[in-house]
Protein backbone atom coordinates (compact mmCIF):
# COMPACT_ATOMS: atom_id res chain seq x y z
CA UNK A 1 0.00 0.00 0.00
CA UNK A 2 1.50 3.29 -1.13
CA UNK A 3 0.00 5.28 1.74
CA UNK A 4 1.90 3.32 4.40
CA UNK A 5 5.26 3.74 2.72
CA UNK A 6 7.26 6.27 4.77
CA UNK A 7 8.12 9.57 3.14
CA UNK A 8 11.36 9.73 5.11
CA UNK A 9 13.12 6.66 6.44
CA UNK A 10 16.20 6.88 8.70
CA UNK A 11 18.15 3.73 9.29
CA UNK A 12 21.07 3.69 11.75
CA UNK A 13 21.70 7.40 11.21
CA UNK A 14 24.74 8.48 13.22
CA UNK A 15 27.14 11.41 13.25
CA UNK A 16 30.09 11.94 15.55
CA UNK A 17 28.89 9.65 18.37
CA UNK A 18 25.27 10.82 18.10
CA UNK A 19 22.66 8.21 17.31
CA UNK A 20 22.15 5.66 15.88
CA UNK A 21 18.68 6.85 15.02
CA UNK A 22 16.00 4.80 13.33
CA UNK A 23 12.76 6.44 12.31
CA UNK A 24 10.07 6.22 9.68
CA UNK A 25 7.97 9.30 9.04
CA UNK A 26 4.82 8.93 6.99
CA UNK A 27 3.56 11.46 4.44
CA UNK A 28 1.91 14.34 6.29
CA UNK A 29 3.40 13.24 9.60
CA UNK A 30 5.45 15.36 12.00
CA UNK A 31 8.07 13.97 14.37
CA UNK A 32 9.25 16.13 17.27
CA UNK A 33 12.84 15.86 18.39
CA UNK A 34 13.96 17.06 21.82
CA UNK A 35 16.96 16.76 24.10
CA UNK A 36 19.27 18.86 26.25
CA UNK A 37 21.45 21.55 24.71
CA UNK A 38 24.40 19.98 22.93
CA UNK A 39 22.77 16.57 22.60
CA UNK A 40 23.18 16.73 18.82
CA UNK A 41 19.71 17.56 17.53
CA UNK A 42 21.07 20.09 15.03
CA UNK A 43 23.79 17.70 13.88
CA UNK A 44 21.18 15.02 13.22
CA UNK A 45 19.12 17.42 11.11
CA UNK A 46 22.27 18.42 9.20
CA UNK A 47 23.07 14.73 8.64
CA UNK A 48 19.59 14.08 7.25
CA UNK A 49 20.06 17.03 4.88
CA UNK A 50 23.44 15.49 3.95
CA UNK A 51 25.28 18.68 4.92
CA UNK A 52 27.87 16.71 6.94
CA UNK A 53 29.46 13.29 6.39
CA UNK A 54 27.51 10.73 8.44
CA UNK A 55 26.84 7.04 8.95
CA UNK A 56 23.64 5.13 8.21
CA UNK A 57 21.07 5.67 5.55
CA UNK A 58 18.32 8.15 4.68
CA UNK A 59 15.60 7.33 2.18
CA UNK A 60 13.01 9.55 0.56
CA UNK A 61 10.02 7.58 -0.73
CA UNK A 62 12.20 4.47 -0.48
CA UNK A 63 14.96 5.95 -2.65
CA UNK A 64 18.33 6.27 -0.87
CA UNK A 65 19.97 9.70 -0.66
CA UNK A 66 22.87 8.43 -2.74
CA UNK A 67 20.79 8.11 -5.91
CA UNK A 68 19.91 11.81 -5.72
CA UNK A 69 22.41 14.47 -6.72
CA UNK A 70 23.19 16.22 -3.42
CA UNK A 71 21.49 19.53 -4.39
CA UNK A 72 18.36 17.67 -5.54
CA UNK A 73 18.26 15.80 -2.23
CA UNK A 74 18.47 19.07 -0.29
CA UNK A 75 15.75 20.68 -2.37
CA UNK A 76 13.50 17.77 -1.43
CA UNK A 77 14.73 17.40 2.16
CA UNK A 78 15.04 21.02 3.27
CA UNK A 79 16.81 22.10 6.45
CA UNK A 80 15.92 25.32 8.28
CA UNK A 81 18.77 26.31 10.63
CA UNK A 82 18.05 27.95 13.97
CA UNK A 83 19.86 31.07 12.80
CA UNK A 84 19.11 31.51 9.11
CA UNK A 85 21.75 33.30 7.01
CA UNK A 86 21.08 35.65 4.11
CA UNK A 87 23.21 36.27 1.04
CA UNK A 88 21.46 39.25 -0.59
CA UNK A 89 20.19 42.59 0.76
CA UNK A 90 16.40 42.27 0.76
CA UNK A 91 13.90 39.46 1.39
CA UNK A 92 12.67 39.70 -2.21
CA UNK A 93 16.11 38.63 -3.49
CA UNK A 94 15.70 35.38 -1.57
CA UNK A 95 12.07 34.58 -2.40
CA UNK A 96 11.16 33.21 -5.79
CA UNK A 97 7.40 33.24 -5.22
CA UNK A 98 7.21 36.66 -3.56
CA UNK A 99 4.82 37.97 -6.23
CA UNK A 100 2.84 34.78 -6.86
CA UNK A 101 -0.59 34.36 -5.21
CA UNK A 102 0.71 31.46 -3.10
CA UNK A 103 3.54 33.69 -1.91
CA UNK A 104 1.12 36.46 -0.93
CA UNK A 105 -1.06 33.99 0.96
CA UNK A 106 1.90 32.68 2.92
CA UNK A 107 3.15 36.18 3.74
CA UNK A 108 -0.31 37.02 5.06
CA UNK A 109 -0.50 33.74 6.99
CA UNK A 110 2.64 34.75 8.88
CA UNK A 111 1.49 38.35 9.37
CA UNK A 112 4.21 39.79 7.11
CA UNK A 113 3.65 42.86 4.90
CA UNK A 114 4.55 42.83 1.21
CA UNK A 115 6.22 46.23 1.72
CA UNK A 116 8.70 44.43 3.94
CA UNK A 117 10.06 42.55 0.93
CA UNK A 118 12.14 45.48 -0.29
CA UNK A 119 13.52 46.62 3.04
CA UNK A 120 17.11 45.73 3.92
CA UNK A 121 17.19 42.53 5.95
CA UNK A 122 19.35 44.25 8.56
CA UNK A 123 16.40 46.54 9.38
CA UNK A 124 14.02 43.66 10.09
CA UNK A 125 13.64 42.08 13.51
CA UNK A 126 15.01 38.62 14.21
CA UNK A 127 11.43 37.34 14.46
CA UNK A 128 10.57 38.76 11.03
CA UNK A 129 13.70 37.22 9.54
CA UNK A 130 12.90 33.86 11.11
CA UNK A 131 9.44 33.82 9.53
CA UNK A 132 10.88 34.93 6.17
CA UNK A 133 13.38 32.08 6.37
CA UNK A 134 10.50 29.62 6.69
CA UNK A 135 8.88 31.15 3.58
CA UNK A 136 12.19 30.86 1.75
CA UNK A 137 12.31 27.19 2.70
CA UNK A 138 8.75 26.47 1.54
CA UNK A 139 9.49 28.27 -1.73
CA UNK A 140 11.43 25.26 -2.95
CA UNK A 141 8.40 23.00 -2.32
CA UNK A 142 10.30 20.43 -0.25
CA UNK A 143 8.81 17.02 0.57
CA UNK A 144 10.50 16.86 3.96
CA UNK A 145 10.94 19.79 6.38
CA UNK A 146 13.79 19.72 8.91
CA UNK A 147 12.99 22.58 11.31
CA UNK A 148 15.50 23.59 13.98
CA UNK A 149 13.73 25.70 16.64
CA UNK A 150 11.74 27.59 13.99
CA UNK A 151 9.84 29.69 16.56
CA UNK A 152 12.66 30.56 18.98
CA UNK A 153 12.40 34.32 18.43
CA UNK A 154 8.62 34.59 18.09
CA UNK A 155 5.77 35.76 20.32
CA UNK A 156 2.77 33.53 21.08
CA UNK A 157 0.65 34.80 18.16
CA UNK A 158 3.38 34.24 15.63
CA UNK A 159 4.25 30.84 17.09
CA UNK A 160 0.64 29.80 16.44
CA UNK A 161 0.84 31.19 12.87
CA UNK A 162 4.03 29.27 12.10
CA UNK A 163 2.64 26.05 13.55
CA UNK A 164 -0.53 26.41 11.49
CA UNK A 165 1.35 27.20 8.27
CA UNK A 166 3.65 24.18 8.65
CA UNK A 167 0.70 21.89 9.47
CA UNK A 168 -1.19 23.16 6.40
CA UNK A 169 1.82 22.74 4.17
CA UNK A 170 2.46 19.16 5.32
CA UNK A 171 -1.21 18.20 4.99
CA UNK A 172 -1.53 19.79 1.55
CA UNK A 173 1.58 18.24 0.06
CA UNK A 174 1.85 15.08 2.14
CA UNK A 175 5.20 16.38 3.35
CA UNK A 176 6.99 14.87 6.33
CA UNK A 177 8.44 17.06 9.08
CA UNK A 178 11.10 16.75 11.78
CA UNK A 179 10.61 19.54 14.31
CA UNK A 180 13.27 20.31 16.93
CA UNK A 181 11.76 22.14 19.90
CA UNK A 182 12.58 22.84 23.53
CA UNK A 183 8.94 23.51 24.38
CA UNK A 184 6.98 20.40 25.49
CA UNK A 185 3.68 22.16 24.78
CA UNK A 186 4.75 22.90 21.22
CA UNK A 187 5.95 19.33 20.70
CA UNK A 188 2.53 18.04 21.76
CA UNK A 189 0.73 20.53 19.50
CA UNK A 190 2.70 19.99 16.29
CA UNK A 191 3.91 16.39 16.40
CA UNK A 192 2.21 13.07 15.89
CA UNK A 193 5.15 11.32 17.57
CA UNK A 194 8.04 12.39 19.75
CA UNK A 195 11.63 11.34 20.06
CA UNK A 196 14.09 12.42 22.75
CA UNK A 197 17.88 12.37 22.89
CA UNK A 198 19.85 12.16 26.13
CA UNK A 199 22.92 14.29 26.87
CA UNK A 200 25.16 11.83 25.05
CA UNK A 201 23.13 11.82 21.87
CA UNK A 202 21.32 8.50 22.36
CA UNK A 203 17.65 8.00 21.69
CA UNK A 204 16.00 7.57 25.12
CA UNK A 205 12.29 7.99 24.63
CA UNK A 206 9.79 7.42 21.89
CA UNK A 207 6.07 8.06 21.97
Amino acid sequence: MASTRPRLLLRGLSIGGIGPLDAAIAPGECLALSGPSGAGKTRLLRAIADLDPHGGECRLDDRPAGVFAAPAWRRAVAYLPAEPAWWADTPRDHLRTADAPAGHDRLAALDLETTMLDRPLTQLSSGQRQRLALLRLLDGQPQVLLLDEPTANLDADNIARVEALVADYCAERDAACVWVSHDPGQRRRVAHRQLALDGRGRVTACS
Binding site: A49, A85, W87
Partner: protein, 267 residues
Amino acid sequence: MQLISLSFADLALAAIGVIALAVTTAMLRLGVARTLVVAAIRTAAQLCLVGLILEAVFAERAFVWIALIALTMLLLAGREAAARQTRRFTGGYGFAAGTISMFLSAFVTTVLTLVVVIRVEPWYTPQYAIPLLGMLLGNTMTGIALALDRLTQNAWREAAVIEARLALGATAGQAVADIRREAMRAGMIPMINAMAAAGIISLPGMMTGQILAGSPPWEAVKYQILIMFLIAAGTGFGTLSAVTLGARRLFDDRHRLRLERLRRARP
Protein backbone atom coordinates in the same frame (compact mmCIF):
# COMPACT_ATOMS: atom_id res chain seq x y z
CA MET B 1 76.01 55.66 -23.81
CA GLN B 2 78.61 53.63 -21.96
CA LEU B 3 77.67 51.25 -19.13
CA ILE B 4 79.36 52.54 -15.97
CA SER B 5 80.35 49.44 -14.04
CA LEU B 6 79.82 49.63 -10.28
CA SER B 7 82.63 48.59 -7.94
CA PHE B 8 82.15 47.13 -4.47
CA ALA B 9 83.42 50.43 -3.08
CA ASP B 10 80.54 52.18 -4.85
CA LEU B 11 78.04 49.79 -3.22
CA ALA B 12 79.67 50.32 0.16
CA LEU B 13 79.03 54.08 -0.24
CA ALA B 14 75.36 53.32 -0.94
CA ALA B 15 75.24 51.15 2.19
CA ILE B 16 76.16 54.19 4.33
CA GLY B 17 72.59 55.41 3.90
CA VAL B 18 71.18 52.15 5.26
CA ILE B 19 73.60 52.14 8.19
CA ALA B 20 72.70 55.75 9.01
CA LEU B 21 69.02 54.81 8.96
CA ALA B 22 69.69 51.82 11.24
CA VAL B 23 71.52 54.02 13.75
CA THR B 24 68.76 56.63 13.67
CA THR B 25 65.95 54.11 14.16
CA ALA B 26 67.91 52.47 16.99
CA MET B 27 68.17 55.85 18.73
CA LEU B 28 64.43 56.42 18.20
CA ARG B 29 63.80 52.93 19.65
CA LEU B 30 61.54 51.97 16.73
CA GLY B 31 62.58 48.34 17.15
CA VAL B 32 63.30 47.85 13.45
CA ALA B 33 67.05 48.51 13.37
CA ARG B 34 67.99 44.86 13.74
CA THR B 35 65.53 43.61 11.11
CA LEU B 36 66.62 46.41 8.80
CA VAL B 37 70.28 45.41 9.00
CA VAL B 38 69.49 41.73 8.60
CA ALA B 39 67.28 42.46 5.59
CA ALA B 40 69.99 44.60 4.00
CA ILE B 41 72.58 41.87 4.50
CA ARG B 42 70.16 39.29 3.08
CA THR B 43 69.58 41.44 0.00
CA ALA B 44 73.28 41.65 -0.68
CA ALA B 45 73.99 37.98 0.03
CA GLN B 46 70.98 36.57 -1.86
CA LEU B 47 71.54 38.76 -4.92
CA CYS B 48 75.27 37.98 -5.00
CA LEU B 49 74.48 34.29 -4.85
CA VAL B 50 71.96 34.62 -7.68
CA GLY B 51 74.52 36.65 -9.62
CA LEU B 52 77.11 33.92 -9.29
CA ILE B 53 74.62 31.26 -10.36
CA LEU B 54 73.42 33.32 -13.32
CA GLU B 55 77.00 34.05 -14.44
CA ALA B 56 77.69 30.32 -14.42
CA VAL B 57 74.45 29.42 -16.21
CA PHE B 58 74.85 32.18 -18.81
CA ALA B 59 78.35 30.87 -19.57
CA GLU B 60 77.21 27.25 -19.70
CA ARG B 61 73.88 27.72 -21.60
CA ALA B 62 72.95 24.08 -20.95
CA PHE B 63 69.23 23.35 -21.04
CA VAL B 64 69.35 21.05 -17.98
CA TRP B 65 70.74 23.79 -15.73
CA ILE B 66 68.24 26.35 -16.91
CA ALA B 67 65.39 23.88 -16.42
CA LEU B 68 66.67 23.07 -12.93
CA ILE B 69 66.82 26.75 -11.97
CA ALA B 70 63.33 27.32 -13.37
CA LEU B 71 61.99 24.39 -11.36
CA THR B 72 63.63 25.64 -8.17
CA MET B 73 62.13 29.10 -8.72
CA LEU B 74 58.71 27.55 -9.26
CA LEU B 75 58.83 25.45 -6.08
CA LEU B 76 60.08 28.36 -3.97
CA ALA B 77 57.29 30.56 -5.34
CA GLY B 78 54.73 27.84 -4.58
CA ARG B 79 56.00 27.53 -1.03
CA GLU B 80 55.94 31.28 -0.53
CA ALA B 81 52.36 31.58 -1.86
CA ALA B 82 51.20 28.81 0.50
CA ALA B 83 53.04 30.35 3.47
CA ARG B 84 51.16 33.64 3.07
CA GLN B 85 47.77 32.06 3.86
CA THR B 86 46.10 32.75 7.19
CA ARG B 87 43.99 29.63 6.79
CA ARG B 88 45.79 26.97 4.82
CA PHE B 89 44.53 23.90 3.07
CA THR B 90 45.68 20.78 4.89
CA GLY B 91 47.78 18.13 3.20
CA GLY B 92 49.83 20.48 1.03
CA TYR B 93 46.82 21.17 -1.19
CA GLY B 94 47.38 24.94 -1.10
CA PHE B 95 50.98 24.47 -2.21
CA ALA B 96 49.87 22.13 -5.00
CA ALA B 97 47.08 24.43 -6.20
CA GLY B 98 49.40 27.45 -6.24
CA THR B 99 52.31 25.64 -7.85
CA ILE B 100 50.22 24.01 -10.57
CA SER B 101 48.56 27.34 -11.35
CA MET B 102 51.90 29.14 -11.51
CA PHE B 103 53.32 26.42 -13.71
CA LEU B 104 50.37 26.66 -16.11
CA SER B 105 50.32 30.45 -16.31
CA ALA B 106 53.90 31.65 -15.76
CA PHE B 107 55.69 28.86 -17.62
CA VAL B 108 53.33 28.81 -20.58
CA THR B 109 53.44 32.60 -20.89
CA THR B 110 57.24 32.66 -20.67
CA VAL B 111 57.79 29.92 -23.25
CA LEU B 112 55.23 31.40 -25.65
CA THR B 113 56.89 34.80 -25.36
CA LEU B 114 60.36 33.39 -25.99
CA VAL B 115 59.23 31.43 -29.03
CA VAL B 116 56.62 33.71 -30.60
CA VAL B 117 57.43 37.27 -29.52
CA ILE B 118 61.17 37.55 -28.84
CA ARG B 119 62.07 34.64 -31.16
CA VAL B 120 65.47 34.10 -29.55
CA GLU B 121 67.65 31.13 -30.63
CA PRO B 122 67.63 28.74 -28.80
CA TRP B 123 64.37 29.61 -27.08
CA TYR B 124 65.78 28.84 -23.60
CA THR B 125 68.67 31.35 -23.89
CA PRO B 126 69.12 32.17 -20.18
CA GLN B 127 69.55 35.97 -20.61
CA TYR B 128 65.92 36.09 -21.74
CA ALA B 129 64.33 33.03 -20.16
CA ILE B 130 65.39 33.49 -16.51
CA PRO B 131 64.53 37.19 -15.99
CA LEU B 132 61.21 36.78 -17.83
CA LEU B 133 60.24 33.77 -15.75
CA GLY B 134 61.34 35.51 -12.55
CA MET B 135 59.19 38.57 -13.24
CA LEU B 136 56.19 36.41 -14.10
CA LEU B 137 56.55 34.05 -11.16
CA GLY B 138 56.99 36.90 -8.68
CA ASN B 139 53.84 38.69 -9.79
CA THR B 140 51.76 35.56 -10.27
CA MET B 141 52.76 34.42 -6.81
CA THR B 142 51.53 37.66 -5.27
CA GLY B 143 48.23 37.42 -7.11
CA ILE B 144 47.65 33.79 -6.19
CA ALA B 145 48.61 34.33 -2.55
CA LEU B 146 46.19 37.27 -2.23
CA ALA B 147 43.38 35.46 -4.00
CA LEU B 148 43.67 32.19 -2.05
CA ASP B 149 43.88 34.10 1.21
CA ARG B 150 40.70 36.01 0.37
CA LEU B 151 38.96 32.80 -0.71
CA THR B 152 39.72 30.81 2.45
CA GLN B 153 39.14 33.71 4.85
CA ASN B 154 35.77 34.57 3.34
CA ALA B 155 34.68 30.95 3.11
CA TRP B 156 35.45 30.62 6.81
CA ARG B 157 33.71 33.85 7.78
CA GLU B 158 30.67 33.27 5.59
CA ALA B 159 30.22 29.56 6.21
CA ALA B 160 26.65 30.13 7.42
CA VAL B 161 25.72 31.89 4.17
CA ILE B 162 27.33 29.21 2.01
CA GLU B 163 25.53 26.48 3.94
CA ALA B 164 22.24 28.36 3.79
CA ARG B 165 22.46 28.20 0.01
CA LEU B 166 23.51 24.55 0.02
CA ALA B 167 20.63 23.66 2.35
CA LEU B 168 18.19 25.19 -0.14
CA GLY B 169 19.54 23.06 -2.97
CA ALA B 170 22.30 25.19 -4.47
CA THR B 171 25.30 23.41 -5.97
CA ALA B 172 28.73 23.99 -4.44
CA GLY B 173 29.57 26.22 -7.40
CA GLN B 174 26.47 28.39 -6.92
CA ALA B 175 26.95 28.59 -3.16
CA VAL B 176 30.55 29.80 -3.42
CA ALA B 177 30.16 31.92 -6.59
CA ASP B 178 30.21 35.33 -4.85
CA ILE B 179 33.21 34.46 -2.70
CA ARG B 180 35.07 32.98 -5.65
CA ARG B 181 34.45 36.07 -7.76
CA GLU B 182 35.68 38.36 -5.00
CA ALA B 183 38.83 36.26 -4.51
CA MET B 184 39.62 36.40 -8.24
CA ARG B 185 39.21 40.17 -8.22
CA ALA B 186 41.45 40.50 -5.16
CA GLY B 187 44.21 38.61 -6.96
CA MET B 188 44.02 40.69 -10.12
CA ILE B 189 43.53 44.22 -8.81
CA PRO B 190 47.20 44.91 -7.90
CA MET B 191 48.22 44.01 -11.44
CA ILE B 192 45.48 46.16 -12.99
CA ASN B 193 46.49 49.07 -10.76
CA ALA B 194 50.14 48.64 -11.70
CA MET B 195 49.28 48.83 -15.41
CA ALA B 196 47.15 51.92 -14.89
CA ALA B 197 49.88 53.68 -12.88
CA ALA B 198 52.83 52.65 -15.04
CA GLY B 199 54.88 55.61 -16.23
CA ILE B 200 52.71 58.23 -14.53
CA ILE B 201 52.95 57.44 -10.86
CA SER B 202 55.76 54.89 -10.99
CA LEU B 203 58.64 54.25 -13.31
CA PRO B 204 58.70 50.44 -13.44
CA GLY B 205 61.83 48.92 -11.92
CA MET B 206 62.78 46.86 -14.92
CA MET B 207 62.64 49.82 -17.28
CA THR B 208 64.60 51.97 -14.88
CA GLY B 209 67.23 49.26 -14.62
CA GLN B 210 67.54 48.94 -18.38
CA ILE B 211 67.92 52.68 -18.85
CA LEU B 212 70.55 52.84 -16.08
CA ALA B 213 72.37 49.96 -17.76
CA GLY B 214 72.58 51.96 -20.98
CA SER B 215 69.59 50.94 -23.11
CA PRO B 216 67.87 53.64 -25.17
CA PRO B 217 64.63 54.61 -23.30
CA TRP B 218 62.52 53.67 -26.29
CA GLU B 219 63.81 50.07 -26.24
CA ALA B 220 63.35 49.91 -22.47
CA VAL B 221 59.77 51.15 -22.84
CA LYS B 222 58.93 48.49 -25.42
CA TYR B 223 60.28 45.74 -23.18
CA GLN B 224 58.39 47.17 -20.23
CA ILE B 225 55.10 47.12 -22.15
CA LEU B 226 55.79 43.53 -23.17
CA ILE B 227 56.47 42.59 -19.54
CA MET B 228 53.35 44.36 -18.25
CA PHE B 229 51.15 42.51 -20.72
CA LEU B 230 52.77 39.19 -19.86
CA ILE B 231 52.38 39.84 -16.14
CA ALA B 232 48.73 40.76 -16.65
CA ALA B 233 47.98 37.56 -18.56
CA GLY B 234 50.13 35.36 -16.33
CA THR B 235 48.80 36.72 -13.04
CA GLY B 236 45.23 36.75 -14.30
CA PHE B 237 45.11 33.18 -15.54
CA GLY B 238 47.19 31.92 -12.60
CA THR B 239 44.73 33.53 -10.18
CA LEU B 240 41.69 32.13 -11.99
CA SER B 241 43.21 28.65 -11.93
CA ALA B 242 44.28 28.75 -8.26
CA VAL B 243 40.93 30.09 -7.05
CA THR B 244 39.05 27.48 -9.11
CA LEU B 245 41.16 24.67 -7.65
CA GLY B 246 40.89 26.10 -4.12
CA ALA B 247 37.12 26.64 -4.29
CA ARG B 248 36.65 23.06 -5.46
CA ARG B 249 38.66 21.78 -2.52
CA LEU B 250 36.33 23.55 -0.05
CA PHE B 251 33.58 21.07 -0.98
CA ASP B 252 33.31 17.33 -1.40
CA ASP B 253 31.48 15.34 -4.08
CA ARG B 254 28.21 15.60 -2.09
CA HIS B 255 28.44 19.42 -2.27
CA ARG B 256 29.20 19.72 1.45
CA LEU B 257 31.29 22.60 2.78
CA ARG B 258 34.39 20.96 4.32
CA LEU B 259 36.04 23.67 6.41
CA GLU B 260 38.04 21.08 8.33
CA ARG B 261 40.24 21.01 5.24
CA LEU B 262 41.52 24.41 6.36
CA ARG B 263 43.68 25.00 9.37
CA ARG B 264 44.73 28.24 10.91
CA ALA B 265 48.40 29.06 10.45
CA ARG B 266 50.37 29.88 13.59
CA PRO B 267 50.63 33.67 13.75
